[in-house]
Symmetry: C2
Subunit: 594 residues, 2 copies
């Protein structure tokens, strides 16, 4: 049986001591946020995650979801009750606008809460996660009437939401989309088509499900310029707000898949379902992508969260399992063998997870704070800067955190040796669950292409220059801090490599776009290592300020940071070397040779 | 539905053109080996793999093995018939001594056949694979009476075999082993104890199962010096060779696990089971390790094999799936979109698999050829050199090929996007199956420790110096070959990095053994990259000799080799940099901090 303890000490450290969010009290929603409130929220969220959600993680995987003959879907035992507890705690509306019943807290809190839910039970966390995304889209693009009709129920968690993009022949390339929408003259449309891989498409947790569906209005242009977004509720809603008749949408089947068994991945059939346009005609992709940024950050968060929970269980096993003796002499001579945590290679795996997870948390929360500034700052320049940074960070966080979340879950499984492969120990589930995060919300390859093809060149490279400027400013501000020097040197070196890669890609990608494509994943990882170096420099700075406090927490933070410098940072140079070999050998074979 | 086509062209190329095994006709078993015979064996083996074994791979995973109330175990539908076909083809005895009914072909053929079986159906391949290991141990350590009693039936595939090492509290650290053996005065022993994770421990493929069991004879010393190896047949064997009464060994349960569902992973209970000592009293570990070298190579082979089969299916999908357009303009303008193989990042994943798998195959076969020389050469110096090289290569091949086999299976799954996560497409099974190979036969961390702690320092570093000498000689022999220069330069560079790492480890591991442990996995990967560079230099040399043949095979080989130089070789420098940071940060935290 696995366990999860929310790392609230580390979360508090990042929020209060590293990012010092009290500095942002001028932003709406921040003024009431005291360290005490932060601690209270994290403690309560942590309890729900550890005591209610995590105990259902393995049983939910074993049982999975069940589709019945009438097309209804039942979630695993305990999920309804757990969802009710989640709903009753008001967690769904943490950072949503109070205008629709939310608590109006900063977005960064929503991220912290999501981290705990995803770590405790990733398959569970997807139900409210997708609902938040759908609510965000309605909030951003809906009419007042739509907002009033749907948002209060969604924010209260009474109704859930989904995103319907993929069709059998059309995943990344949404221009191929075929689902049809026929206007009915009364403002409504009849939607028909088949959608696949729809997470949480049908379930028994909420009384209604609000599907957001991409479809093509009859006569619309081909390709991506003829796609619109529709609201298609499972049950139509009467004017008094009560639920009306069943709409023409149903779950045709549940996919059998590698993991996240407790989340229903549905084939959804739309058969003259009644829907209403959300946002402008033929501008559905833009509306969908508004919410996709935050959805992608949420997926990155899943990668980091699985690294955290799998680390916790691997570390507990490594302290408990007796096998062999330390290379430097017995450490537990009174026992038949030492705990395996004495072995340097076991330590290396555990330290890699810590250095990744702790750095990634700081980086993710830092980015979320820019998300708050993007939405809430009164300063136009700040909003633009925040938008640039969010746009740049989104593909990097999504892809790197899920790539590494998976490889660290694999390493955590490795710590348990043979037991790691056995289902009842729970470690292999972390790996299977983590695997999907590299794929959905745009595969990691698509993220890399988004980074080099869109985010990098946009506005003459303004976003990446802004990011490098932040790094330079930090280094400059702290250059007198001798103890921070190893971190500043590491950061400076990584940034220089990233900047060199940017220049190479700009010059050679222009000449042949395949050069950019072939280097895109290495560039994403190089940038990610630079981001982690920046995060670790900030963590180390905050830890150094308290290093004489006598609290081992700060000393451990610095030691883990040193491990980052020793064991993760060096990968950057290999990525740079690979980027600079260009596309020639990658593209050299004829298709027929494969 | 996945497919598998044995890469017989590539296998033939390595055997005939790269290694030129006709040169070894002075060795027993090699004299009859003509290129025609090689081709015939590979073709026949390939047919069995593709047409009989592979079609059962997904169904076997879905059905798994079933344990019945009486302790008997049924393999998935079709396995009995497939095993009968395997047995009828004489595949079990390919490289076994003709004295016991084998065909006496070189070991390298057994490796090539194993590759195909593992790629086609890894879970199936484990049944005969473990039997070969058990037969090897009896051949090496058994009395004439034991050999005559067991080997003919095992070589014919009528009986299978297992290896019983692990106990609940005792995996890597066999010194903790508790199973007991009580001498009965008639040469037999009563064996009692519980063994776990016993692959193929019970099944319905053969009429008898010959268990090799580690146990401690009553009164034997504690630790690893008091462990003996026993032969414990499921059914006792009458003097006329017929099967006698059931022995006191039974399958208590089958483990539920992440993958290889079609192989029964058993808890085996020994309850006064009758067994006979194999080899010397208290020297059971030595006997077990004799066969473990080849077993470990077999596991490495599984990693490479899964990379091959997952590559084939990913490549087929990438040529078929239409999504998006090439960055350099439409390549299939007549279609609604280009096949995704036009995208550089998809190519990068596929080329990485090719460069790994083709290099690994040459490296593995090269090592297997040393295995043949070790057993069969009449020259004492050659036998010792071969033994040194085999010993050095074994942990590197086991760990690197399984680490990369898993990550490449993951990449192949990634090529399919969302479909990769869905069970029916079969890609996620490759990942789940590949995962175990990093764990069993000694976790990869144990391999890394074997490398730096035993294989490297033994005889003053003779093995690694021998290996470097082979590289130097190759470079020197070919230095006039201008077209080979990029490969020789890459090899020379990798070798220099490996040599630097060896020096660092020798100097700093002596001073603090944790320095060697902390760098062990990076060193193993650095050595592996050097081995691949050596393999690619040999592949490129052979391909260059035919480059004017007009056969694209050779040109493609050179291009894939260039990709290796561009995209895999650069990782070596990162490994070296990490090794040289030592153990300080890895070991810096108190245990309590984890």
């Amino acid at each position: 049986m696995t366990e999860y303890n929310a790392p609230t000490r580390d979360m508090n450290f990042v929020l209060n001591e590293v990012l010092d969010i009290s500095k942002y009290s001028n932003l709406p929603g921040f003024s009431d946020v005291s360290p005490d409130l932060i601690e209270a929220i994290l403690e309560e969220g942590g309890k729900l995650a550890s005591n209610v959600l995590h105990p259902l993680n393995q049983s939910g995987d074993a049982e999975g979801c069940t589709r019945h003959e009438d097309g209804s879907v039942t979630t695993p035992a305990g999920f309804k009750e757990a969802y009710a507890a989640y709903q009753a705690g008001g967690w769904q509306g943490v950072s949503f606008s109070p205008d629709y019943g939310g608590q109006g807290l900063p977005y960064i809190f929503s991220v912290a809460v999501s981290e705990m839910m995803s770590a405790a039970n990733m398959a569970f966390g997807m139900y409210p996660g997708l609902s938040r995304g759908a609510a965000d889209a309605i909030y951003a693009h809906g009419t007042d009437e739509q907002k009033n009709r749907f948002l209060p129920k969604m924010i209260a968690g009474e109704w859930s939401g989904t995103m319907n993009l993929t069709e059998p022949h059309c995943g990344t390339d949404l221009g191929l989309l075929k689902s049809k929408a026929i206007p009915q003259g009364d403002g409504s449309y009849k939607i028909s088509g088949q959608k696949i891989f729809i997470s949480a498409g049908e379930h028994d947790l909420t009384e209604n499900i609000i599907h957001l569906v991409l479809a093509r209005i009859e006569g619309a242009p081909e390709g991506t310029k003829g796609i619109s977004l529709f609201i298609v509720p499972k049950f139509r809603i009467n004017d008094d707000g009560s639920l009306g008749e069943r709409n023409g949408v149903s779950c045709g089947s549940i996919e059998e898949k590698m993991g996240i068994h407790a989340n229903s991945t549905c084939v959804m059939n739309y058969d003259d379902a009644t829907g209403w346009l959300l946002g402008e005609e033929n501008k559905g992709l833009r509306a969908m992508f508004t919410m996709m940024n935050e959805a992608r950050l949420g997926v990155g968060l899943q990668g980091m969260a699985i690294s955290e929970v799998s680390y916790q269980n691997a570390a507990a096993y490594a302290k408990d399992r007796l096998q062999g003796r330390s290379l430097t002499g017995p450490k537990a001579p009174e026992k038949p063998a030492d705990p395996i945590i004495v072995h340097p290679n076991v330590r290396r795996m555990l330290m890699s997870q810590r250095a990744f997870t702790e750095g990634a948390r700081a980086w993710m929360y830092w980015t979320a704070l820019w998300g708050d500034m993007h939405h809430k700052s009164e300063d136009e320049a700040t909003r633009q800067k925040a938008d640039d940074l969010m746009g740049l960070m989104t593909p990097i966080l999504k892809a790197y955190l899920t790539d590494k979340g998976y490889s660290h879950a694999t390493a955590a499984q490795q710590v348990l040796g043979g037991h790691g492969y056995i289902t009842e120990w729970g470690m292999e589930q972390f790996v299977r669950d983590a695997r999907i995060a590299m794929i959905y919300e745009g595969t990691n390859g698509v993220q890399a292409l988004d980074l080099v093809g869109r985010k990098l060149p946009r506005n003459g490279g303004r976003a990446v220059m802004t990011f490098f400027g932040e790094i330079d400013a930090f280094i400059d501000e702290n250059k007198a801090n001798d103890e921070l020097k190893p971190f500043l040197d590491g950061l400076s070196d990584a940034k220089a490599d990233s900047a060199e890669a940017v220049q190479w890609l700009m010059a050679n990608g222009m000449q042949n776009p395949d050069n950019a494509g072939a280097g895109s994943m290495d560039f994403l990882h190089l940038m990610a290592i630079t981001c982690l170096a920046f995060a670790w420099a900030q963590l180390a700075k905050a830890a150094l300020e308290k290093k004489d406090s006598g609290d081992a927490f700060y000393d451990n933070k610095l030691k883990t940071g040193q491990f980052f410098l020793d064991r993760i940072l060096p990968d950057g140079k290999a990525h740079l070397a690979k980027i600079k070999t260009g596309a020639a050998s990658t593209m050299s074979l004829d298709q027929a040779a494969f």
